[in-house]
Protein backbone atom coordinates (compact mmCIF):
# COMPACT_ATOMS: atom_id res chain seq x y z
CA UNK A 1 0.00 0.00 0.00
CA UNK A 2 1.33 3.42 -0.88
CA UNK A 3 1.60 5.49 2.26
CA UNK A 4 1.29 9.19 1.33
CA UNK A 5 3.25 10.27 4.41
CA UNK A 6 6.04 7.84 3.69
CA UNK A 7 6.07 9.13 0.10
CA UNK A 8 6.26 12.75 1.29
CA UNK A 9 9.16 11.86 3.59
CA UNK A 10 11.00 10.19 0.68
CA UNK A 11 10.47 13.17 -1.62
CA UNK A 12 11.71 15.75 0.91
CA UNK A 13 14.67 13.77 2.25
CA UNK A 14 15.96 12.13 -0.93
CA UNK A 15 14.81 14.33 -3.82
CA UNK A 16 14.52 17.81 -2.38
CA UNK A 17 17.50 17.67 0.00
CA UNK A 18 19.39 15.08 -2.01
CA UNK A 19 20.31 12.92 1.00
CA UNK A 20 21.36 9.32 0.40
CA UNK A 21 18.73 6.71 1.24
CA UNK A 22 21.16 4.64 3.32
CA UNK A 23 22.74 7.53 5.24
CA UNK A 24 21.95 8.36 8.86
CA UNK A 25 20.89 11.92 8.03
CA UNK A 26 18.68 10.70 5.17
CA UNK A 27 16.92 8.19 7.42
CA UNK A 28 16.48 10.77 10.20
CA UNK A 29 15.08 13.47 7.91
CA UNK A 30 12.78 11.00 6.17
CA UNK A 31 11.42 9.83 9.55
CA UNK A 32 10.98 13.40 10.79
CA UNK A 33 9.09 14.67 7.73
CA UNK A 34 6.94 11.55 7.51
CA UNK A 35 6.00 11.61 11.19
CA UNK A 36 5.35 15.36 11.40
CA UNK A 37 2.96 15.14 8.44
CA UNK A 38 1.27 11.95 9.61
CA UNK A 39 0.92 12.86 13.29
CA UNK A 40 -0.38 16.38 12.75
CA UNK A 41 -2.86 15.18 10.11
CA UNK A 42 -4.12 12.49 12.50
CA UNK A 43 -4.27 14.93 15.42
CA UNK A 44 -6.36 17.48 13.55
CA UNK A 45 -8.82 14.82 12.36
CA UNK A 46 -9.17 13.03 15.71
CA UNK A 47 -9.52 16.14 17.84
CA UNK A 48 -12.03 17.65 15.42
CA UNK A 49 -14.18 14.51 15.34
CA UNK A 50 -14.05 14.16 19.14
CA UNK A 51 -15.02 17.81 19.43
CA UNK A 52 -17.99 17.31 17.08
CA UNK A 53 -19.17 14.39 19.18
CA UNK A 54 -18.56 16.48 22.27
CA UNK A 55 -17.03 13.42 23.81
CA UNK A 56 -14.61 15.54 25.76
CA UNK A 57 -16.04 15.16 29.22
CA UNK A 58 -15.34 17.99 31.64
CA UNK A 59 -13.98 17.33 35.13
CA UNK A 60 -17.18 18.80 36.60
CA UNK A 61 -19.16 16.06 34.86
CA UNK A 62 -16.73 13.35 35.99
CA UNK A 63 -17.15 14.50 39.56
CA UNK A 64 -20.93 14.28 39.26
CA UNK A 65 -20.72 10.78 37.77
CA UNK A 66 -18.32 9.41 40.34
CA UNK A 67 -19.59 10.88 43.61
CA UNK A 68 -21.58 8.75 46.01
CA UNK A 69 -20.99 5.43 44.26
CA UNK A 70 -19.63 2.27 45.86
CA UNK A 71 -15.87 2.02 45.72
CA UNK A 72 -15.43 -0.37 42.78
CA UNK A 73 -17.94 1.47 40.62
CA UNK A 74 -16.39 4.82 41.46
CA UNK A 75 -12.95 3.48 40.58
CA UNK A 76 -14.15 1.96 37.33
CA UNK A 77 -15.72 5.27 36.31
CA UNK A 78 -12.70 7.28 37.41
CA UNK A 79 -10.34 5.10 35.39
CA UNK A 80 -12.63 4.99 32.34
CA UNK A 81 -13.42 8.69 32.38
CA UNK A 82 -9.79 9.52 33.13
CA UNK A 83 -8.91 7.68 29.95
CA UNK A 84 -11.29 9.74 27.82
CA UNK A 85 -10.62 13.15 29.40
CA UNK A 86 -7.46 14.80 28.15
CA UNK A 87 -7.20 17.28 30.98
CA UNK A 88 -4.44 19.83 31.27
CA UNK A 89 -2.14 19.25 34.23
CA UNK A 90 -2.83 22.84 35.27
CA UNK A 91 -6.30 21.69 36.37
CA UNK A 92 -5.08 18.86 38.61
CA UNK A 93 -5.34 21.02 41.71
CA UNK A 94 -8.99 22.09 41.31
CA UNK A 95 -9.76 18.56 40.18
CA UNK A 96 -8.17 17.04 43.27
CA UNK A 97 -9.98 19.46 45.58
CA UNK A 98 -13.27 18.97 43.76
CA UNK A 99 -13.03 15.21 44.17
CA UNK A 100 -12.13 15.48 47.86
CA UNK A 101 -14.99 17.89 48.42
CA UNK A 102 -17.43 15.50 46.76
CA UNK A 103 -16.37 12.81 49.23
CA UNK A 104 -14.75 10.69 46.54
CA UNK A 105 -12.11 8.43 48.17
CA UNK A 106 -8.52 9.56 47.63
CA UNK A 107 -7.58 6.20 46.12
CA UNK A 108 -10.19 6.75 43.41
CA UNK A 109 -8.87 10.26 42.80
CA UNK A 110 -5.37 8.85 42.38
CA UNK A 111 -6.72 6.29 39.90
CA UNK A 112 -8.13 9.19 37.88
CA UNK A 113 -4.88 11.17 38.12
CA UNK A 114 -2.92 8.16 36.81
CA UNK A 115 -5.27 7.25 33.97
CA UNK A 116 -5.89 10.75 32.68
CA UNK A 117 -2.47 11.86 31.42
CA UNK A 118 -1.45 8.37 30.33
CA UNK A 119 -4.40 7.40 28.17
CA UNK A 120 -6.60 9.49 25.96
CA UNK A 121 -8.39 8.94 22.70
CA UNK A 122 -5.95 11.13 20.77
CA UNK A 123 -3.01 9.01 21.93
CA UNK A 124 -5.03 5.88 21.21
CA UNK A 125 -5.66 6.82 17.58
CA UNK A 126 -2.01 7.76 17.10
CA UNK A 127 -0.90 4.47 18.61
CA UNK A 128 -3.13 2.60 16.20
CA UNK A 129 -1.95 4.70 13.26
CA UNK A 130 1.76 4.44 14.01
CA UNK A 131 2.25 1.21 15.90
CA UNK A 132 -0.78 -0.90 15.05
CA UNK A 133 -3.78 -2.34 16.88
CA UNK A 134 -2.06 -4.86 19.08
CA UNK A 135 0.33 -2.38 20.59
CA UNK A 136 -2.39 0.21 21.13
CA UNK A 137 -4.50 -2.34 22.99
CA UNK A 138 -1.56 -3.48 25.10
CA UNK A 139 -0.67 0.09 26.07
CA UNK A 140 -4.25 1.01 26.93
CA UNK A 141 -4.92 -2.24 28.80
CA UNK A 142 -1.72 -1.92 30.81
CA UNK A 143 -2.48 1.75 31.53
CA UNK A 144 -5.98 0.98 32.81
CA UNK A 145 -4.61 -1.81 34.99
CA UNK A 146 -1.91 0.41 36.51
CA UNK A 147 -4.46 3.16 37.20
CA UNK A 148 -6.85 0.69 38.86
CA UNK A 149 -4.25 -1.08 41.03
CA UNK A 150 -2.19 2.06 41.70
CA UNK A 151 -5.21 3.80 43.24
CA UNK A 152 -5.93 0.80 45.48
CA UNK A 153 -2.34 0.63 46.67
CA UNK A 154 -2.32 4.38 47.41
CA UNK A 155 -5.49 3.96 49.46
CA UNK A 156 -3.78 1.29 51.62
CA UNK A 157 -1.32 3.88 52.88
CA UNK A 158 -4.13 6.15 54.13
CA UNK A 159 -3.00 9.17 52.09
CA UNK A 160 -5.63 11.39 53.79
CA UNK A 161 -3.08 12.27 56.47
CA UNK A 162 -0.90 13.98 53.87
CA UNK A 163 -3.56 16.17 52.35
CA UNK A 164 -3.01 19.87 53.06
CA UNK A 165 -5.41 21.11 55.74
CA UNK A 166 -6.96 23.89 53.67
CA UNK A 167 -8.22 21.38 51.10
CA UNK A 168 -10.71 19.93 53.59
CA UNK A 169 -12.13 23.36 54.35
CA UNK A 170 -12.96 24.42 50.81
CA UNK A 171 -16.66 24.56 50.13
CA UNK A 172 -17.54 24.12 46.55
CA UNK A 173 -20.43 25.94 44.95
CA UNK A 174 -23.04 23.99 43.05
CA UNK A 175 -21.87 23.69 39.48
CA UNK A 176 -23.94 26.12 37.46
CA UNK A 177 -21.90 25.48 34.37
CA UNK A 178 -23.78 26.64 31.28
CA UNK A 179 -25.29 24.15 28.85
CA UNK A 180 -23.26 23.77 25.70
CA UNK A 181 -24.58 24.87 22.33
CA UNK A 182 -25.46 21.57 20.64
CA UNK A 183 -26.51 22.85 17.20
CA UNK A 184 -24.37 21.69 14.27
CA UNK A 185 -22.73 25.10 13.97
CA UNK A 186 -22.11 25.21 17.69
CA UNK A 187 -20.50 21.78 17.57
CA UNK A 188 -18.35 22.78 14.62
CA UNK A 189 -17.15 25.92 16.41
CA UNK A 190 -16.41 23.95 19.54
CA UNK A 191 -14.49 21.32 17.54
CA UNK A 192 -12.39 23.93 15.75
CA UNK A 193 -11.65 25.65 19.07
CA UNK A 194 -10.63 22.30 20.56
CA UNK A 195 -8.26 21.56 17.68
CA UNK A 196 -6.61 24.96 18.11
CA UNK A 197 -6.44 24.75 21.87
CA UNK A 198 -5.09 21.19 22.08
CA UNK A 199 -2.58 21.64 19.26
CA UNK A 200 -1.34 24.87 20.80
CA UNK A 201 -0.79 23.02 24.04
CA UNK A 202 0.90 19.90 22.73
CA UNK A 203 2.64 20.74 19.46
CA UNK A 204 6.03 21.36 21.11
CA UNK A 205 5.98 17.97 22.81
CA UNK A 206 5.03 16.26 19.59
CA UNK A 207 7.79 17.97 17.58
CA UNK A 208 10.39 17.23 20.27
CA UNK A 209 9.18 13.62 20.40
CA UNK A 210 9.44 13.25 16.63
CA UNK A 211 12.89 14.88 16.69
CA UNK A 212 14.14 12.42 19.31
CA UNK A 213 12.52 9.57 17.38
CA UNK A 214 14.21 10.73 14.16
CA UNK A 215 17.64 10.89 15.84
CA UNK A 216 17.20 7.37 17.22
CA UNK A 217 15.96 6.17 13.85
CA UNK A 218 18.85 7.70 11.93
CA UNK A 219 21.85 7.65 14.22
CA UNK A 220 21.60 5.00 16.92
CA UNK A 221 22.94 1.69 15.62
CA UNK A 222 20.50 -1.19 15.91
CA UNK A 223 23.21 -3.60 17.11
CA UNK A 224 23.96 -1.42 20.10
CA UNK A 225 20.25 -1.20 20.97
CA UNK A 226 19.62 -4.92 20.67
CA UNK A 227 22.63 -5.65 22.83
CA UNK A 228 21.74 -3.17 25.61
CA UNK A 229 17.97 -2.72 25.43
CA UNK A 230 16.76 -5.79 23.57
CA UNK A 231 15.25 -9.00 24.89
CA UNK A 232 16.68 -10.43 28.06
CA UNK A 233 18.03 -7.11 29.33
CA UNK A 234 16.20 -7.04 32.66
CA UNK A 235 17.83 -3.92 33.99
CA UNK A 236 16.82 -1.96 30.90
CA UNK A 237 13.23 -1.76 32.21
CA UNK A 238 13.92 -0.05 35.57
CA UNK A 239 16.49 2.14 33.83
CA UNK A 240 13.90 3.24 31.26
CA UNK A 241 11.36 3.99 34.01
CA UNK A 242 13.84 5.96 36.12
CA UNK A 243 14.86 8.02 33.12
CA UNK A 244 11.23 8.58 32.15
CA UNK A 245 9.73 9.64 35.47
CA UNK A 246 11.26 13.12 35.85
CA UNK A 247 10.98 13.82 32.11
CA UNK A 248 7.85 15.41 30.89
CA UNK A 249 6.12 14.96 27.64
CA UNK A 250 2.58 14.67 26.54
CA UNK A 251 1.37 11.11 25.89
CA UNK A 252 1.17 12.03 22.21
CA UNK A 253 4.78 13.19 22.08
CA UNK A 254 6.11 9.88 23.39
CA UNK A 255 4.61 7.84 20.58
CA UNK A 256 7.14 8.75 17.83
CA UNK A 257 9.98 7.98 20.26
CA UNK A 258 8.41 4.59 20.95
CA UNK A 259 8.00 4.05 17.21
CA UNK A 260 11.71 4.60 16.63
CA UNK A 261 12.73 2.49 19.65
CA UNK A 262 10.60 -0.45 18.51
CA UNK A 263 11.93 -0.09 14.97
CA UNK A 264 15.46 -0.52 16.31
CA UNK A 265 14.61 -3.62 18.30
CA UNK A 266 14.13 -2.34 21.87
CA UNK A 267 12.10 -4.96 23.77
CA UNK A 268 8.35 -4.28 23.79
CA UNK A 269 7.92 -4.19 27.59
CA UNK A 270 10.83 -1.77 27.94
CA UNK A 271 9.21 0.59 25.43
CA UNK A 272 5.80 0.39 27.12
CA UNK A 273 7.30 1.07 30.56
CA UNK A 274 9.24 4.03 29.18
CA UNK A 275 6.17 5.53 27.47
CA UNK A 276 4.07 5.23 30.58
CA UNK A 277 6.62 6.72 32.92
CA UNK A 278 7.14 9.72 30.66
CA UNK A 279 3.43 10.37 30.16
CA UNK A 280 2.15 9.67 33.67
CA UNK A 281 4.47 11.54 35.94
CA UNK A 282 6.91 14.42 35.76
CA UNK A 283 8.60 16.97 37.99
CA UNK A 284 6.25 19.83 36.92
CA UNK A 285 3.20 17.66 37.61
CA UNK A 286 4.57 16.77 41.07
CA UNK A 287 5.15 20.45 41.87
CA UNK A 288 1.54 21.21 40.93
CA UNK A 289 0.20 18.37 43.09
CA UNK A 290 2.42 19.55 45.97
CA UNK A 291 -0.12 22.36 46.46
CA UNK A 292 -2.65 19.83 47.73
CA UNK A 293 -0.62 16.94 49.15
CA UNK A 294 2.64 16.80 51.09
CA UNK A 295 5.93 15.21 49.98
CA UNK A 296 5.43 11.76 51.58
CA UNK A 297 2.30 11.22 49.49
CA UNK A 298 4.06 12.44 46.35
CA UNK A 299 7.07 10.21 46.96
CA UNK A 300 4.73 7.28 47.55
CA UNK A 301 2.79 8.11 44.39
CA UNK A 302 6.01 8.19 42.34
CA UNK A 303 7.20 4.94 43.92
CA UNK A 304 3.91 3.10 43.32
CA UNK A 305 3.93 4.20 39.69
CA UNK A 306 7.59 3.32 39.16
CA UNK A 307 7.10 -0.17 40.58
CA UNK A 308 3.94 -0.71 38.49
CA UNK A 309 5.64 0.38 35.29
CA UNK A 310 8.62 -1.88 35.96
CA UNK A 311 6.29 -4.84 36.56
CA UNK A 312 4.35 -4.03 33.37
CA UNK A 313 7.63 -3.84 31.43
CA UNK A 314 8.94 -7.12 32.79
CA UNK A 315 5.58 -8.78 32.28
CA UNK A 316 5.46 -7.87 28.59
CA UNK A 317 9.11 -8.75 28.06
CA UNK A 318 8.41 -12.19 29.52
CA UNK A 319 5.43 -13.01 27.33
CA UNK A 320 6.76 -11.64 24.04
Amino acid sequence: MLDPFDWLGDRVAYDLLGLAGDSASGAAVQFFVMDVAKIFALLVVVIYVMGLLRALVSPERVREFVRGRPDWQARGLAVGLGAVTPFCSCSSVPLFIGFVEAGIPLGVTFSFLIASPMINEVAAVLLIGLLGWELALLYIGAGLLVAWVGGIVMQRFRPERWVEAYVWRIQMGEAAVPRPDTSLLGRHRFAVAEVREILRRIWKWVVIGIGVGALIHGYVPADWIVEHLGDGQWLAVPAAVLVGIPLYSNATGVIPVAEAMLGKGVALGTVLAFMMSIAALSIPEMLILRKVIRWPALALFAAVLAVSFILVGWGFNLIT
Binding site: R63, P94, Y166, G173, A176
Partner: protein
Protein backbone atom coordinates in the same frame (compact mmCIF):
# COMPACT_ATOMS: atom_id res chain seq x y z
CA UNK B 1 -21.18 48.30 34.41
CA UNK B 2 -20.55 44.63 33.99
CA UNK B 3 -18.36 42.89 36.45
CA UNK B 4 -16.39 40.13 34.76
CA UNK B 5 -14.24 37.68 36.67
CA UNK B 6 -11.73 35.37 35.05
CA UNK B 7 -11.19 32.31 37.22
CA UNK B 8 -7.81 30.61 36.99
CA UNK B 9 -4.73 30.01 39.06
CA UNK B 10 -2.44 31.96 36.77
CA UNK B 11 -2.00 29.51 33.92
CA UNK B 12 -1.33 30.82 30.41
CA UNK B 13 -4.86 30.20 29.17
CA UNK B 14 -6.24 32.38 31.96
CA UNK B 15 -4.01 35.27 30.87
CA UNK B 16 -5.09 34.81 27.28
CA UNK B 17 -8.76 34.79 28.29
CA UNK B 18 -8.46 37.92 30.43
CA UNK B 19 -6.63 39.78 27.67
CA UNK B 20 -9.17 38.75 25.04
CA UNK B 21 -12.03 39.99 27.22
CA UNK B 22 -10.33 43.31 27.90
CA UNK B 23 -9.71 43.80 24.19
CA UNK B 24 -13.27 42.87 23.17
CA UNK B 25 -14.71 45.29 25.75
CA UNK B 26 -12.54 48.06 24.43
CA UNK B 27 -13.61 47.35 20.83
CA UNK B 28 -17.28 47.21 21.76
CA UNK B 29 -16.95 50.38 23.81
CA UNK B 30 -18.33 48.63 26.87
CA UNK B 31 -17.02 49.55 30.26
CA UNK B 32 -16.22 46.54 32.37
CA UNK B 33 -14.70 45.78 35.72
CA UNK B 34 -12.32 42.92 35.00
CA UNK B 35 -11.02 40.90 37.95
CA UNK B 36 -8.66 37.94 37.86
CA UNK B 37 -9.51 35.43 40.55
CA UNK B 38 -6.52 33.27 41.43
CA UNK B 39 -7.52 32.03 44.87
CA UNK B 40 -8.40 28.36 44.51
CA UNK B 41 -11.04 28.44 47.25
CA UNK B 42 -12.86 31.30 45.55
CA UNK B 43 -12.62 29.66 42.12
CA UNK B 44 -14.17 26.52 43.50
CA UNK B 45 -16.91 28.42 45.28
CA UNK B 46 -18.32 28.99 41.78
CA UNK B 47 -18.43 25.24 41.19
CA UNK B 48 -15.74 25.49 38.53
CA UNK B 49 -13.04 22.83 38.36
CA UNK B 50 -11.69 23.32 34.87
CA UNK B 51 -10.05 26.68 34.38
CA UNK B 52 -10.16 29.23 32.91
CA UNK B 53 -13.72 30.06 33.84
CA UNK B 54 -15.62 33.29 33.22
CA UNK B 55 -18.15 34.80 35.62
CA UNK B 56 -20.31 37.76 34.57
CA UNK B 57 -22.18 39.58 37.32
CA UNK B 58 -22.05 36.52 39.54
CA UNK B 59 -23.11 33.92 36.94
CA UNK B 60 -20.74 31.34 35.52
CA UNK B 61 -20.97 31.68 31.73
CA UNK B 62 -18.01 29.59 30.70
CA UNK B 63 -15.48 27.09 32.00
CA UNK B 64 -12.77 24.76 30.78
CA UNK B 65 -10.80 26.61 28.14
CA UNK B 66 -10.22 29.83 26.28
CA UNK B 67 -13.62 31.06 25.04
CA UNK B 68 -13.95 31.77 21.32
CA UNK B 69 -14.00 35.35 20.01
CA UNK B 70 -17.71 35.14 19.02
CA UNK B 71 -18.63 34.08 22.55
CA UNK B 72 -16.73 36.99 24.06
CA UNK B 73 -18.33 39.50 21.67
CA UNK B 74 -21.77 38.12 22.54
CA UNK B 75 -21.11 38.70 26.26
CA UNK B 76 -20.24 42.33 25.54
CA UNK B 77 -23.48 42.87 23.63
CA UNK B 78 -25.79 41.21 26.18
CA UNK B 79 -27.77 43.96 27.89
CA UNK B 80 -26.80 45.01 31.37
Amino acid sequence: MKQIKVLGSGCRNCEITANAIAKAAEQAGVEIDLVKVTDIAEIMSYGVMSTPGVVIDGTVVHSGGVPGPERIRAWMQASD
